[in-house]
Structures are given as structure tokens and as C-alpha cells.
């Protein structure tokens, strides 16, 4: 019996067309646009000036608070401007623009580091290294990892959960990483288990990634404390709370964190970044990005430097195909549709999806027929039709008491609605207003 979460969930088609494509190294970008806010929390503070020469891996913006992190230059080059460049939502945000030095040795050579299994740092040094290296949750949430790993005294940590689920259709970045860097990821897990400390780890992988499951099973054959759990393919299995429920049958309490049930969850990409930072002192400068789409000439997975403009990626895979109507930064269920390919790749970009006419348009909105499908699929046990109604009518107090703030914005409700109602749009809006009202009360 495959493990799964019991409440809600949907089964969109996987469309994992790039799952067999080995990760290629993306060619060096000529210009790198690095936003200062790529993570949840306070934007980083710029510490370089225009015309300054920067080395690869040099800190160009430093952490400006507890929930913040460092940002490193992904290339060696010169800072050309500190300008406002368009982000995924179409608003211009402060970025550091660096022109790559195409002749610099550190840019041209890409060292393949051998596997290093020995852990030489102390736990304190490990956490400091993670904090200094600018590592954030690479699953898409971009929460600074060192903050997540700082366990308060009153909470007991029992298990480390590794999220290798990648439940979003089309995306295969984590899948390929798990196949190609299995040993490194396991060392990364051991590093965390030593540092936290915790004596049990479970790697959760969905059943459609059989080769990754096999790879991990063989590498962890002799590891007593690291288990591999195979999960049923269901969206949103990759959500933290649903993952903990499926693997450990524990429900994170409402408005709580996985730490409340003794668990901390990390994405495989984050674990790999931690491995590189701790073992070789390499800060977070690049990540795996899936560039995909049914009509693309050459959909692929790439190691991309943070700050590479998306238009470079599109050009590399053969250009925008005829009839493209939507470009999505992320997966089709939770990603953001972008209006310009000038938007740069950030730490949270797991994929670029090119959608053509037949799938791009929303259907026409009709009346709610009270079919109850949205209630049936909601993994958090909410009633989306009611929350949309309350948000529309401005009944925010009632929306709060109907637990609108516990919505994880997975999109399952809008996906199934036969009347094409924009349920998630209104729920997000309601959440904003309710959050503001709650903050105003305090």
C-alpha cells in the first residue's frame, strides 16, 4: 500500500516530458540580474557599488535581519547598475545588474566536485555555514533555511523529512537532481541529522519517479536511520503538511508548523545546496530549472545561474513557439504567469513553462452550482465556494472564522470547478484583507 494523505487532492496529468533529460549546464549568461528579495522575509541590503568588480561567490547583498539571508554573485564580473527590474508580478523591484566577465577563469571552468562523505565541521559551524551561504527553501517557498533549522528549546525534533515529491505537473528539476546526485543528497541528509541533531530521516518520493526511488534505496541500503517512503501520485502531496500526514500520520495543528509535531521538512534541492555549502563552502549561486512546454523544440533541465534572464533560457530551447499564450514561472498549479521575459531566474524558480493557446485560456465563469467538488478536493478541509462568497461580499470576520487563513493556495479548488469560478483568486484576496485586519487588531 502506497502512503498518501487522506483528505482531498486531485490527479492532474503529469506531463513530465523532461524526466529523461539529463541536467545540462546552461551557458554562461552575459548579464546577470540579481533581485535583492528572493526569499521570504526582509530584502537583503546591497553592499556593492556601481562599477565595482565582483568575484564569483562574493556576497553582494547581506542579510538584514533574522528572517533574511545573504545573496552572492553567481558570476565574476562588474556591477553595471543598481536598478529596478520587472519581477514575476510585473512590478519593478530593486536588482543588482552584473555584466559577466567572459574571460574570467572562475566563470569559464566548472569544477566537478568529488563526493565528500566526511563531516568535518561542528554543528554550530554547520549552521553558520548554512546561514552564510544564502540557502533558502528551493522547493519554491524560499524560506531561509537557517531560520527553519533553528529549533527552539521547547520543541522536540523527532524526524527529518526530505521532500522529493515534486507533485506539480511538468516540473522534473528535483527528479533529475535525485537521480544524478543521490549520494551527495544522502551525505547532506547525514550532515543535517548530525547537526540538528535528529536520529531519523525519511525521504518521500512519489511513485512516478521509480528510478529515483531505486537510486535512493540502493544508496541508503546500509543506513539504518534513513528510510525511503514511496508515495501515491496525488497533488498536492509535496505540500509540507500533507507530506507529514502521509509519512507519519501526524497532522500539523491548525496555524502551526511541522515542528509542533516533531518534524522538519526540507526539499532535496535545499539538501544538495547544504551539502555543497558545508563540504566545499560553495554558496547558493545556481539551481536546477526545468524549461518545458508541449510545443517547445527542445524542453530540458538546466543548471542555471541565479539572475539569468528568462529570455536567455527560452532562446536556448528553441525560442517561443508559434501560438504561445502563456509563460509560467514555476509549475502550472502554483506558478506565476509572467508578462515579460526580462524577469530573471531567482532562488525560488523551479521551472519555466510555455503554454499554448489550447490550454492557456480560462473558461467562462458561470454560477456556482453547489456541486461540492471544491469541498471534496480541498486538502485542508475548507469550503472554497463559501470562502469565495464571503470574500466577494466583504464578510471578512466570517471568512476568518471559516479558517480562510489556513488555505495553502494549492489551487485544487479552481482546478476542479465545473463552472470555472476563480475560487483561488478571491480566497487569496480574502486572505490578504483578513491578514491586514488581524494585524491591525494587534
Amino acid at each position: 500500500m502506497l502512503k498518501t494523505f487522506s483528505k482531498g487532492g486531485i490527479h492532474p496529468s503529469g506531463n513530465k516530458i523532461t524526466s529523461t533529460k539529463e541536467i545540462k549546464r546552461f551557458p554562461l549568461p552575459k548579464v546577470v540580474v540579481v533581485p535583492i528579495s528572493q526569499h521570504i522575509g526582509i530584502p537583503s541590503e546591497i553592499i556593492v557599488e556601481v562599477k565595482e568588480k565582483v568575484k564569483k561567490g562574493q556576497i553582494i547583498a547581506k542579510s538584514s535581519g533574522f528572517v533574511s539571508t545573504n545573496i552572492h554573485s553567481p558570476v565574476a564580473g562588474t556591477v553595471t547598475k543598481l536598478d529596478k527590474i520587472i519581477d514575476s508580478r510585473g512590478y519593478k523591484k530593486q536588482c543588482i545588474v552584473i555584466r559577466t566577465d567572459l574571460k574570467d577563469v572562475s566563470n569559464l571552468e566548472e569544477i566537478e566536485y568529488a563526493l565528500k562523505e566526511e563531516i568535518t565541521l561542528t554543528p554550530k559551524e554547520i549552521f553558520q555555514r548554512i546561514s552564510d551561504s544564502g540557502i533558502v527553501g528551493l522547493g519554491g517557498a524560499t524560506f531561509p533555511s537557517h531560520v527553519k533549522l533553528s529549533v527552539k528549546e521547547d520543541k522536540k525534533l523527532e524526524c527529518l523529512v526530505i521532500n522529493g515529491v515534486e507533485c506539480e505537473p511538468y516540473l522534473t528539476a528535483d527528479h533529475r537532481l535525485m537521480i544524478e546526485k543521490t549520494r551527495e543528497i544522502v551525505v547532506g541528509i547525514k550532515i543535517l541529522m548530525y547537526a540538528l541533531p535528529v536520529n531519523k530521516a525519511i525521504i518521500g518520493i512519489e511513485n512516478d519517479k521509480k528510478n529515483a526511488i531505486q537510486s535512493f534505496l540502493s544508496v541508503t541500503k546500509n543506513e539504518k536511520n534513513i528510510d525511503v517512503a514511496v508515495l501515491k501520485v496525488k497533488y498536492p502531496q509535496g505540500s509540507e503538511k500533507q507530506l507529514v500526514k502521509a509519512l507519519l500520520k501526524r497532522e500539523v495543528p491548525k496555524n502551526g508548523l511541522p515542528l509542533d509535531v516533531g518534524v522538519v521538512v526540507h526539499n532535496v534541492g535545499t539538501i544538495f545546496a547544504i551539502y555543497q555549502a558545508v563540504q566545499y563552502n560553495i554558496p547558493l549561486m545556481e539551481r536546477v530549472v526545468t524549461v518545458t512546454g508541449k510545443k517547445l523544440e527542445n524542453p530540458s533541465n538546466y543548471w542555471v545561474k541565479i539572475g539569468t534572464p528568462i529570455k536567455d533560457l527560452i532562446k536556448e530551447v528553441g525560442g517561443i513557439p508559434e501560438g504561445t499564450r502563456k509563460l509560467v514561472n514555476g509549475g502550472p498549479m502554483m506558478g506565476k504567469a509572467i508578462k515579460s521575459t526580462d524577469v530573471p531566474i531567482t532562488k525560488g524558480t523551479s521551472g519555466i513553462l510555455v503554454i499554448s493557446e489550447d490550454e492557456a485560456s480560462r473558461g467562462e465563469q458561470q454560477n456556482c452550482i453547489r456541486c461540492g467538488k471544491c469541498v471534496y478536493v480541498c486538502p485542508m478541509g475548507l469550503e472554497p465556494y463559501l470562502l469565495m462568497n464571503l470574500s466577494e461580499k466583504g464578510m471578512y470576520e466570517k471568512a476568518f472564522s471559516e479558517d480562510i487563513l489556513t488555505c495553502i493556495e494549492c489551487g485544487s479548488c479552481s482546478y476542479v470547478c465545473p463552472s470555472n469560478r476563480p475560487l483561488l483568486d478571491f480566497i487569496r484576496f480574502g486572505k490578504e484583507i483578513v491578514k491586514n485586519l488581524q494585524n491591525a487588531k494587534k
Binding site: 503538511k241 504567469a337 470555472n420
Partner: protein, 336 residues
């Protein structure tokens, strides 16, 4: 970015294949077997009543939306079509055309449109239309043509009665069930549809086929039909065991009257049924109990229509009390 502009919208950017039209047309397909049986048993009149009901429902919805409310005309979504078919299925085939039209006007105009249109009505329009006609024209609404095979004439309704009607009247006058058994159709007849009754409710088999199709297509879930029929069966069964001469056996109750039609097509109407599975169970229990009580002790022989309408009125309350469990909470028997 060639030709047409890039679209920007909020996530999710993909959608399931489910759509309103698909759901509605699935229901229409599920009703086809019952319609064919009614044609076979009641002949051309069945066709006339059904098509008049459909056309007048569509026409009234069009007129009201376009000229009275000045909103978008949505007759192509299929909901008025279904209301027309279901209304017709609840009427005797001998009903006058103008009565069918009046029933359609009530169903669409009063029960559906005046509440706000699709998705806003509290009561099932077809059932409410049927009850309206029953109360307004009680004589014509209880004149059942005898079931004659290969009926191709337009002869006026000859007074044959439904199974339940025979039983109710007989028992009131002191007959025992055994003495009535010659007058009521056999189980096979009731399954196939060679019995008196409204257009749609006669053939249990055809309706069960339609119901199975709806379950297969995931348009409805099993909770309401199974629990409703089980409740009716159990309640009538208990009384039949106590006094088999006074109360008919549960099989007769399940196969005759509007029980199966109601269970699979009327009670499961998406708009007027509860949103959660727990709520549906309570809803179905209520319908089953009320139907059984009316059939066993009430003045009317058939109770399904009234039972469903009464429980429709409770649905907002059911939705309020039977909410899904929120993830991360423990149910402490909170009723608020």
C-alpha cells in the same frame, strides 16, 4: 510574443476536463433509458408531454433572462433542459398541454429564476413544479392512463391507478394486502415499467441503469441514493414485518412510485443537495424517513416529492452544521 498577446492570470493555469455542460448532458443521457420506456408504454403522449415541458422551460428561461432581468441568456448550459425533462417525468402522460406549460412557468419562473437563477434556488424546480400542479389540479394529476403496450393512440387518460394508489385506497377501505395482490403489478412488471404512474417513474430498471451511469461518470455520489432507498426499505420493512396485511412489503415500496427516480435524479440535484458527504447522509436519512411516514401513515399514497422538498428547505442548515473537518483539528463534537 507573436500574434495574440500573452495571457496573464493567477494560478492555477490548468483545469480539469469537468465542465458544467458535461455534467448536464451526462444527466440527460442517463434519463434516456427511462424516456424510451415511457415512449414504449405510453406512446406518443409521452413524447408530447416531454417535449412541451422541455420547450416551455427553455422558452420561459430565455424570456425571463432576456426581457425581464436583462442578464446574459444561459439556456445552453442544459439546466432548463433537465428541469423540463424531470418535470415531464413526474407528470401523468394524459395531462393537458396547457397544464404542463403552467407547471414549467412555475418551475422556472418562481422556483428557479426568482431566487436568482442557476445555483441559487433552494427547492428542486421540477419537483416544486410537480407539487404545484398536484395541488392546483388534483384530479387531472391523479388520472393515470393504464399501461398499454404499443400505445400509439392519443386516447384520454383512462382511470388506472398507480400501485401505491391501489394499496393506499384499498387499505383505507379495509382490504388486506393479499386481497389486493391481484390488482397490483408483479415485481417484474414494476422493474420493467409495465405499470401505471408518471412518465418517468415506471421503469425501475431503466432508472437504475441511468443511476449507474451517473455514478460511473462521478456526477453523483452513492451516499444520497443508497441511504435514501435503504431508509425507505428499512422503515417500510419494519412495519411490514409487524403487520404484513396492512403494510406492503418493502420491495413494492422501493420499486413503485417515485422512489428510484427521486433517489437518483431528484434528491441528488447538485444545487439543492448538501455540500459534504456527512450532510448528504443526514439529508438522505431525512428524505427516507419522511417518505416512509407519508406512505405508511399519511393521506397521500406517494411521499417522495414532499419529502425531498421538505429536506431541501433544511439543506442550508445542514450545510451550516455539517462542515468538513479542518486539517489539523480534532473534532470535539462541536456543533457550531
Amino acid at each position: 510574443m507573436k500574434n495574440l498577446p500573452i495571457i496573464v492570470s493567477a494560478s492555477p493555469h490548468i483545469h480539469s476536463e469537468k465542465s458544467l455542460k458535461k455534467i448536464m448532458y451526462d444527466v440527460v443521457i442517463a434519463l434516456v433509458p427511462a424516456f424510451l420506456v415511457s415512449l414504449y408504454v405510453f406512446g406518443i403522449r409521452a413524447f408530447i408531454v416531454t417535449s412541451v415541458a422541455i420547450i416551455s422551460c427553455l422558452l420561459f428561461e430565455y424570456l425571463i433572462q432576456k426581457y425581464l432581468l436583462h442578464t446574459k441568456v444561459t439556456i445552453s448550459d442544459g439546466s432548463a433542459l433537465i428541469t423540463g425533462i424531470l418535470l415531464a417525468f413526474n407528470l401523468p402522460s394524459g395531462l393537458s398541454i396547457w397544464m404542463v406549460v403552467v407547471g414549467s412557468l412555475f418551475a422556472i419562473g418562481v422556483v428557479k429564476m426568482s431566487f436568482g437563477g442557476l445555483g441559487f434556488n433552494i427547492f428542486n424546480p421540477a419537483l416544486a413544479g410537480r407539487v404545484f400542479l398536484l395541488i392546483s389540479f388534483p384530479v387531472q394529476m391523479t388520472m393515470w392512463p393504464t399501461a398499454v403496450v404499443n400505445n400509439t393512440t392519443m386516447v384520454d387518460a383512462v382511470s388506472g391507478a398507480t400501485t401505491l394508489g391501489i394499496i393506499k385506497e384499498g387499505v383505507m377501505y379495509g382490504d388486506t394486502i393479499t386481497s389486493l395482490s391481484s390488482k397490483i403489478p408483479s415485481t417484474m412488471d414494476m422493474l420493467l415499467g409495465v405499470t401505471g404512474g408518471s412518465l418517468g417513474e415506471i421503469s425501475a430498471l431503466a432508472l437504475l441503469i441511468g443511476g449507474a451511469y451517473l455514478l460511473y461518470r462521478q456526477v453523483i455520489s452513492w451516499h444520497i441514493p443508497i441511504i435514501m432507498l435503504a431508509t425507505i426499505g428499512i422503515m417500510t420493512g419494519i412495519f411490514w414485518l409487524i403487520n404484513p396485511e396492512h403494510y406492503a412489503n418493502p420491495l413494492i415500496h422501493l420499486l413503485s412510485g417515485g422512489a428510484i427516480l427521486g433517489a437518483f435524479f431528484m434528491a441528488t440535484d447538485l444545487v439543492t443537495s448538501p455540500m459534504t458527504k456527512k450532510g448528504m447522509i443526514v439529508f438522505a436519512l431525512g428524505i427516507g424517513i419522511i417518505t416512509a411516514v407519508i406512505r405508511l401513515f399519511g393521506a397521500y399514497p406517494e411521499g417522495v416529492s414532499f419529502a425531498i422538498l421538505i429536506m431541501n428547505a433544511f439543506v442550508p442548515l445542514i450545510n451550516h452544521f455539517f462542515k468538513p473537518r479542518r486539517f489539523g483539528t480534532v473534532i470535539k463534537s462541536k456543533i457550531m
